[in-house]
Symmetry: C2
Subunit: 190 residues, 2 copies
């Protein structure tokens, strides 16, 4: 999506350690009108798929998910990062591995709000190694919810996440797919 690629080129900063900083419009300061346009694009891609729930993960997925849900006229459910190991029997839980911090943590959703009959579009801001997305998929599978697909703002296509998730047979639509990035060369898209 040209608009998003332009925003990345104009405002994104490439930092050492494979970090693309887009906190000026995506995940700290949020350009709500741009994010709503991303939502409109997700609706163009998934609008005829019978989506009745959008699932995301706190915190930075929530804004895009809410703005997207306005086009689908459906609720948003966000998975919470759980601090306790004892998640109880009222929650679906899955583990996310953080490559940055080399730790695992649980993400949870209430069993009241995800289950059979749900046709879920998963929304997130980034797809890199795919661990957050895998956990959201796992939550849907445990709940018996059907996954329509995933809508990602920015995919680091040179990392393995997208390939791994697509090889599971899940449709993944990323609005900007980065094929390489480098502080000198800048960002290149697929």
């Amino acid at each position: 999506m040209k608009l998003l690629e332009q925003a990345i080129c104009k405002e994104g900063k490439i930092l050492p350690g494979n970090i693309l900083k887009v906190d000026g419009f995506l995940n700290h300061r949020m350009d709500v009108e741009l994010l709503s346009k991303l939502g409109e694009e997700f609706y163009r891609l998934y609008g005829n798929c019978g989506v009745n729930k959008i699932l995301t993960i706190e915190a930075s997925g929530i804004g895009i998910a809410c703005l997207t849900a306005q086009f689908f006229h459906c609720p948003v459910l966000f998975a919470k990062k759980s601090k306790s190991n004892n998640v109880g029997d009222k929650l679906w839980a899955s583990k996310v591995h953080s490559y940055t911090h080399n730790t695992d943590h649980d993400v949870v959703v209430s069993k009241n709000y995800l289950g059979r009959g749900d046709r879920v579009l998963i929304i997130d801001d980034f797809l890199a190694n795919g661990s957050a997305l895998e956990a959201l998929i796992d939550l849907c599978n445990k709940a018996g919810a059907e996954i329509v697909g995933a809508g990602i703002a920015i995919e680091k296509a040179y990392q393995e996440g997208g390939k791994k998730i697509r090889s599971m047979g899940i449709r993944v639509e990323s609005l900007a797919r980065i094929v390489s990035m480098d502080p000198k060369e800048g960002v290149k898209f697929c």
Copy 2:
């Protein structure tokens, strides 16, 4: 606001320990159309105040803030809960005391995105003891940003937060003000 009061009465659950569970529409599963109506109401209240930035705190404030920002045509900035004690010199930081866990943690925003010239509407889902709101006010003061006011979905008016913040001279508009709640008697509004 009648619509919000009705949602609280219909879907809210009062749990022991002064807990109002509204995770069915507000802070886990999010009823995006209702939240957008809250945003419209905040715009009715603050629409002529020259707001050019909405400030909230992760995670459950983000949805309401984004939907509200659509009416104001301004960006959202969300304060992040910081895990490290060393927040660096590029961030404005403030402490939030959690009464639930009896711990303190930092919340931070980038100095790039909050400063002089900003006219800030602070948005959050709950106001009870006021510690999160105080921290957001403190961030604005440190940054030299002007606070137009606060827009709160649900205020527990029997706790001291609202009184404390209003006595600082800050305008606080809460769309549902709970004067008492009890598992037997239900919720009563001001």
